[in-house]
Subunit: 344 residues, 2 copies
DNA sequence: TTGTAGGCGTTATCAT
DNA sequence: ATGATAACGCCTACAA
């Protein structure tokens, strides 16, 4: 193991002071061409890179940003993260990701990030994305927000005053539901998500409101908030089959849930879209890779990641909120999983 | 923005020296219960956490590990990463992920990680996973390996001497191919991957060898190394359809490719497994979530991530290779996408 | 049991 | 144009 070379050593070997080496490194023009060349040669030879830990300490800035992600194995979050990472690197920052699953709780994850001295962070919180966040959650977020710039992803309850970027959940689900209704569907089901979550609430109430525009009400027997995975979709559909009350169209919380829904449909010889229509949310490669391709609500995770990172950088330099709410448009992408009901 | 409190301030407020505070923090027993309590109180009150940048500098160890991942949006890599992250956190380390997509090239990503002073790293390299890695790639990896402990994931060509963990690619694909042959299939296709890659080579040659056990040879017309995504699977199948030469069974490089293959099959009314059998690799939620559920080669990404991290920690403390090759067993998980050919 | 002081590898200010 | 030198926040001998 060759011990890493330090600036000190490099400097003495070059016959200059560390100050000069530092100047060369930071492209400070106050160095004669001659010495610059000499130093640069040694840098190249040793493949020397400044110790960013030391640099962070003296500069009082780590050039690291944190991102708390719920579940990176969900393509939706992966897309969001990747775009943020790309942008961060372009701007000279390292993005430090931590999944909420990894620590006991979000609080720990956030504190770990702060301890690492990230210059700012993007948080996709489940704790604060509650219809009724715990009082201590709100307090904790407030103190965190006083310590460093934070951008939230997803719309928090109004008790939290920080800037955030969020998709147009309501508009997306309104459009999706209206589309199904306009096709002639009347027995609509909602599958996935979790009852106490604000995002789910936003989407579900949009769903309900669209129904009521047609004089309909959401049927509790066709509502199944079973979670966020493919298995949740399976459970939801199986539940409907058991009760014998089948919808003629389903809207899911995300692509994973839709995957499970489609699986049960195929298994039960329910043809999509002939017997049942499906609309998913996320428009990831999953909705595009299935057959039929799923009609899906595109809430543009890449754009969310990008806007969040941009907002964070602005917040960091401006020391003030750039634009406290950034909305990402939702687009309904119509594909093969939706059609008029045969009975209509 | 409340400025973060430092140990200095905390110490003076507590009426002790920084040394004492430090002792409390590191649970050094050489502190009287009385002062320990007094200091701890202030720590709690201010929610004080030591600056890990400063700590890293003096301890000459960052407690950060790096992980270079090819594509975190692939559930296979996500699973691997998440398990490694979990373990790292349990052992008091922060895992710093960087995707090869994010920088111009792997070299840059690795250098960035080193610059951040990670104490060791896990690399899933595409550059070195070549049948013929570039000479400079090998040289670069060698120099990197001299700077810090590195564990590779995937079997490198023998020119690289470092420790690595790798799935039993050969055994997995042998088993899969033999299984199809034993069912009576004779027209086997291989879809996905990239021709110049070592991992692909390992899998494909196992595929070929199993065929030759039955006196058969791989048919170039049924080999389609089109890449790693769902679209690659689509392209592969479409190619077969165009040439009019359809296989009666397909083995793919991974679940994503299989997703595309199944899509085309469904689209073309090729029933799976009646008309065509499919075996994928990865056994992620995708293979489990499709209908029919896919027979899949499970190469246990979680276990890979776990073993890699454990090996890395050992390598770090032992200053020597713990066990230079760790093989992860591949298991063929038989599900509904494979059956005897109808014509058989 | 507690405090003093030097140093970790950089950067940046102030001389020269 | 270059070089001392003092931080940055923490840890750890060594002293007391």
């Amino acid at each position: 193991m060759t011990p890493k070379i330090t600036m000190q050593q490099l400097a003495s070997e070059a016959g200059v002071s560390t100050a000069t080496v530092s100047r060369v490194l930071t492209r400070n023009p106050l160095v004669s061409e001659e010495t610059r060349k000499r130093v640069q040669e040694l840098i190249d030879r040793y493949d020397y890179r400044p110790n960013s830990v030391a640099r962070s300490l003296v500069r009082q800035q780590s050039n690291m940003l944190g991102m708390l992600v719920q579940d990176i194995s969900n393509p939706y979050f992966a897309a969001m993260y990747l775009q943020a990472e790309k942008l961060a690197n372009q701007r000279g920052y390292t993005l430090l990701m931590t999944s909420s699953l990894s620590f006991q709780n979000e609080r720990e994850s956030i504190l770990a990030l702060i301890e690492r001295q990230v210059d700012g962070m993007i948080i996709i919180s489940t704790n604060i994305d509650m219809k009724q966040p715990a009082k201590e959650t709100l307090e904790f977020m407030e103190t965190a927000r006083r310590k460093l710039p934070i951008i939230l992803i997803n719309e928090p309850v109004r008790a939290f005053a920080g800037p955030y970027v969020a998709p147009e959940n309501r508009e997306g689900y309104l459009a999706a539901t209206r589309y199904l209704l306009s096709l002639g569907h009347r027995e609509l089901a909602f599958i996935g998500g979790n009852d106490d979550t604000n995002t789910v609430h936003l989407r579900y109430s949009a769903f309900c409101d669209a129904l009521s525009e047609y004089g309909l009400a959401s049927n509790p027997a066709l509502t199944c908030m079973t979670g966020y995975t493919a298995d949740s979709g399976v459970q939801g559909m199986l539940h409907f089959l058991e009760t014998g009350h089948l919808p003629d169209a389903v809207i899911t919380f995300n692509d994973l849930v839709a995957l499970g829904v489609l699986k049960v449909c195929t298994q039960q010889n329910l043809r999509v879209p002939d017997d049942i229509s499906i609309i998913s949310c996320d428009n990831s490669y999953i909705s595009r890779g299935l057959m039929p391709e799923l009609t899906s609500i595109d809430i543009q995770p890449e754009l969310q990641g990008e806007k969040a990172l941009e907002a964070l950088l602005k917040l960091m330099e401006a020391k003030e909120v750039p634009q406290s709410v950034i909305r990402i448009p939702a687009k309904l992408i119509v594909r093969g999983s939706t059609a008029r009901p045969r009975r209509a």
